[in-house]
Symmetry: C2
Subunit: 223 residues, 2 copies
């Protein structure tokens, strides 16, 4: 399934496909970037389409033309923000690497994704809550079930290789995604209060990515 | 410092202390329980004092009389919801147990706390964001720095006992509190979508508490 169809599937009738061809990808990216900036700054989803237009230097009507509604805009942002992460999962499982090496790349990918797009988990769960049952199932299958399935295969491989024990993939999901979401949402808030200095993002991804891999690599090892 | 003074300190002038004595602890608990129910159901902090009054079967004016404002109500709820958790930290460090046993009790306490009061992390961080600098520092020192200091002492003890390596306590904070918050916020949403059945809270605390301890116990071990 193409990424672009997961959230916006129902809007793809033939007339709309023709209309999409007349759109400008640069304008769409500008509007999505403005939305991503607003979500990162606010730390919540309480913004209006008018704020997005103002931030992008474009009219509110254009936001409506491109995305239909706030729900459509949020769906498009989820898709564009997580395309790299989803592509990584698809390719990582197929690569000729040990389960521990796959875990290392994946943990680094999580820390990087949440550092770059700290709103992503809140966005995902808002869209699941705000969609009808079929829509919620489609989003959850694509963005949650696929990750849990990746963990299941990863753990199976690690067990075969004698480096992991048979952990529940859902438990690994809660630990890794929870950690990613928490540090993304809280790091900038907590660091100055705790007397530290906020590191640059690239340094943080290196340092915390390595620390989290070390914890998890040992955490899942065969006993 | 008494728990009750952390968030509400500035409101404790002598006139207010006399007034507090005339209040009814049962009414205060009823209002706090109604607020906790609303936060758990909504999964966010978007509620009005009128909703709290209606839920408790009491007038909105009474909510204002007891807590002054929504900020005061949220502060009181944080205090009452986390008193057990904070008391556990205080006593656990002083107990004659190995570092790994302390970690086991603590991890179980986290899973239990977040299962019972899934809103607690969001509440804490809202209050830090919404308070002035001095207030934010006071709340953070009490609810965050104290936990990080507990981790620092726990890891020091584990290193002395030869069972842990010198992990950054802030990293342990992100992993454990992030996991707790994520499972609290997401479990009920995700479980039906993934085809599972939601377990009873007590079963979940046992099962996930043990799994998380196993992961963390190995994750922090001396190499």
């Amino acid at each position: 399934m193409e990424i672009q169809t997961v959230v916006r599937k129902r809007r793809r009738d033939p007339a709309q496909v023709r209309e999409v061809k007349r759109r400008d990808a640069g304008t769409e990216r500008t509007l999505l970037s403005a939305t991503a900036e607003l979500l990162t700054e606010k730390g919540n989803l309480n913004f209006s389409l008018a704020e997005v237009g103002a931030r992008a230097g474009l009219s509110t009507a254009l936001v409506q033309y491109y995305f239909g509604s706030k729900h459509g805009l949020l769906g498009a942002l989820l898709e564009s923000s997580s395309s790299g992460y989803v592509a990584q999962l698809n390719s990582l499982m197929a690569m000729d690497l040990s389960a521990l090496d796959k875990l290392r790349f994946h943990v680094r990918g999580i820390v990087k994704t949440y550092t770059k797009t700290p709103y992503i988990d809140r966005l995902l769960h808002h869209l699941i809550s705000a969609s009808d049952d079929a829509g919620a199932k489609r989003i959850s299958d694509y963005y949650v079930k696929r990750v849990v399935e990746f963990y299941r295969k990863l753990i199976d491989q690690g067990v075969r290789e004698g480096t992991m024990r048979p952990i529940d993939p859902m438990h690994l999901y809660f630990v890794l995604l929870g950690t990613g979401d928490h540090l993304a949402a809280r790091r900038r808030l907590l660091t100055p209060l705790l007397g530290g200095t906020a590191q640059m993002d690239a340094e943080f991804v290196d340092e915390f990515g390595n620390a989290l891999y070390d914890i998890m690599c040992n955490g899942v090892r065969a006993l």
